[in-house]
Symmetry: C3
Subunit: 138 residues, 3 copies
């Protein structure tokens, strides 16, 4: 009876990775996980954009997102694409925020439908959260 | 017996909106909600500053906060002011962080007292959080 | 039976302070607290770097991190170093993310070992979080 709901508000690569790494860890230990993609986070669900977010701190250690990707690859850390594939394979649920789609003018056609389990608004997130033990806003 | 406590640490318009949209959704579904405004979030409680925060990502999609406001208006999405009015009408509670007021030199006179239910420090937040099911840091 | 787990993903001074202030408040009221330092947050565990993070919003009110530190000192607000010392004295637990150390090439030698209770990966965080009442991502 363990459940996590994570709001993915930020679109940066490092924050998306944290969301997916925590989500996958939670799933691997037998819990269920729902990710609610909203605001800048929703942009990552556009086809081909999953790992296209910038880093939240470009200048720390002089790491750009491409260099981060390179280092992760060298160290055998999964890419955002692989983390998402694992997330879905482990039974994780992805919700796309309809209000964000409307405000930003992003149609369903532009989103990667294969990743999305449900389209909904805040009511759906709240409903999912009421059953959750672990709640994060990223 | 459902309760949410949200720390509003960030002062950006999009993050404040996420806090209020989630808060209002939670209240609408019968829960109780406390928002704890601290650090940059507290600046939004200064008279007339509720929707004056920048966007957390200015360059994504080329959206500035004024353009975001315009798009939201066109799409019938409530403004931060309206979201806050609804939040209060639905029984939501707002706490202003006294430490932040002290450090930033912001007196009670400058804050919009009509929005604030209580002035307090971290002890008050922790007390509220101990009864909460949904806890977020925004 | 109250427990808080906080992911410290951000390395900015104001966000680290929020994490430590909330953590210390929670400990002071009889709870237990685990901080999981990952991504940019881990950089703050490098020797001498605890209060070297920039502010998350440099331009708001024109406050730089040095000016923030000066104001806090004047107002009697504890520094990040003091907050961390209190956190440890109150029994707070610090976990350093091994994946971040590996990706960023940060060896144990460079970290301030006196602050760190455990080195681990996401599985350790998830385990700690499953028992937690208050869960935050900062």
């Amino acid at each position: 009876m363990n459940k996590a709901t994570i709001v993915v508000h930020s679109g940066e690569m490092d924050k998306l990775m944290s969301a997916l790494i925590i989500g996958n860890g939670y799933l691997a230990m037998g819990g269920s996980v729902t990710l609610y993609f909203t605001f800048w986070g929703l942009l990552r669900l556009i086809k081909g954009q999953l790992s296209k977010g910038p880093l939240s701190k470009m200048n720390m250690l002089g790491l750009g997102s491409w260099m981060m990707r390179l280092r992760m690859k060298k160290k055998g850390v999964a890419s955002p694409e692989r983390l998402m594939t694992d997330f879905k394979a482990l039974g994780g649920k992805v919700i796309a925020c309809e209000m964000t789609m409307d405000v930003m003018g992003i149609s369903k056609k532009r989103l990667d439908d294969s990743l999305i389990d449900e389209y909904g608004a805040v009511g759906l997130y709240v409903k999912e959260s009421k059953e959750a033990d672990l709640t994060l806003f990223i």
